[in-house]
């Protein structure tokens, strides 16, 4: 492939309806690039959960996707409230989302566990009051 391909997206925090549009775009690009359904699904689900999190908790942010010969990297960056206890946030079923988010079908405490499940590498860099950066990588070999 040579030079890695880079995609940048702004994730609108105001509009729950549009959450996930960047992930749909990425899935489309990966399909055009000829990736397997399994890789497309893992990348798009991991990114989609991250996007939903940014909209629910952090008033949006940015998403950067880099496709290289060996891996696909997704970096999600927000200036939201930060995650006070990352270890706890990683537990299945733990959520700080309120009832109106649950009524929309999210906030089951599965977002971060799903991101971990579908990626090969997950790192969360978060500071309360400053923001959160989530880095995920999916191996291509």
């Amino acid at each position: 492939m040579g030079e890695p391909l880079k995609f940048h997206f702004e994730v609108d925090g105001e509009n729950f309806s549009s959450a996930g549009e960047a992930s749909v775009m990425v899935k489309k690009k990966l399909r055009q690039l000829g990736f397997s359904p399994e890789i497309m699904r893992r990348v798009s689900i991991a990114m989609y959960e991250g996007e939903i999190n940014m909209v629910i908790h952090a008033d949006g942010g940015t998403a950067d996707v880099t496709v290289s010969d060996t891996e696909i990297e997704i970096v999600l960056k927000d200036k939201g409230p930060g995650i006070a206890d990352v270890e706890r946030a990683m537990q299945e079923g733990y959520s700080t989302a309120c009832d109106n988010i649950r009524a929309l079908g999210f906030g089951a405490g599965m977002g971060l566990p799903n991101m971990k499940k579908y990626s090969d590498y997950l790192h969360i860099d978060s500071e309360v009051g400053v923001g959160t950066t989530v880095t995920m990588r999916i191996n291509l070999n």
């Binding site: 959450a19 996930g20 079908g105 089951a108 599965m110």
Partner: protein, 119 residues
């Protein structure tokens, strides 16, 4: 099972995707929590749900699902129908409740999972 058989079993109204009625699906799942769909579902062709918002269609699209059935007489918005058309997903709605709809599909041979342990 063909998607048109699902329509018959659930006495459902087609909302979009008529051209895919002959498409075969091999399993289904039912949930109003999209995160659970994203967590536990593997190779499911059909989502049965009573939840109405665009994320239902995006979730189905991420999971490569072929068909979404809205139960309890819930109807999707025009925005959701547009989105489903773009993704090539069949939408239909049924007056049945989720439990009853799933019972009909299961009894007719459409199982919960195509080989995994969840769903």
């Amino acid at each position: 099972m063909k998607i048109c058989e699902i329509q018959n079993l659930l006495n459902a109204t087609m909302l979009c995707g008529e051209e895919n009625l002959e498409h075969e699906v091999y399993s289904a799942c039912c949930s109003d929590m999209m995160s659970d769909v994203l967590a536990y579902v593997k190779d499911q062709g059909v989502l049965v749900t009573g939840l109405i918002n665009p994320q239902v269609i995006r979730t189905a699209s991420m999971m490569d699902m072929a068909c979404v059935v809205f139960v309890r007489s819930k109807a999707p918005t025009d925005e959701m129908v547009d989105l489903a058309e773009k993704c090539g997903i069949v939408l239909m709605k049924s007056d049945m409740r989720a439990y009853e709809a799933c019972g009909h599909l299961f009894a007719a041979g459409l199982r919960g999972n195509a080989g995994g342990t969840h769903g």
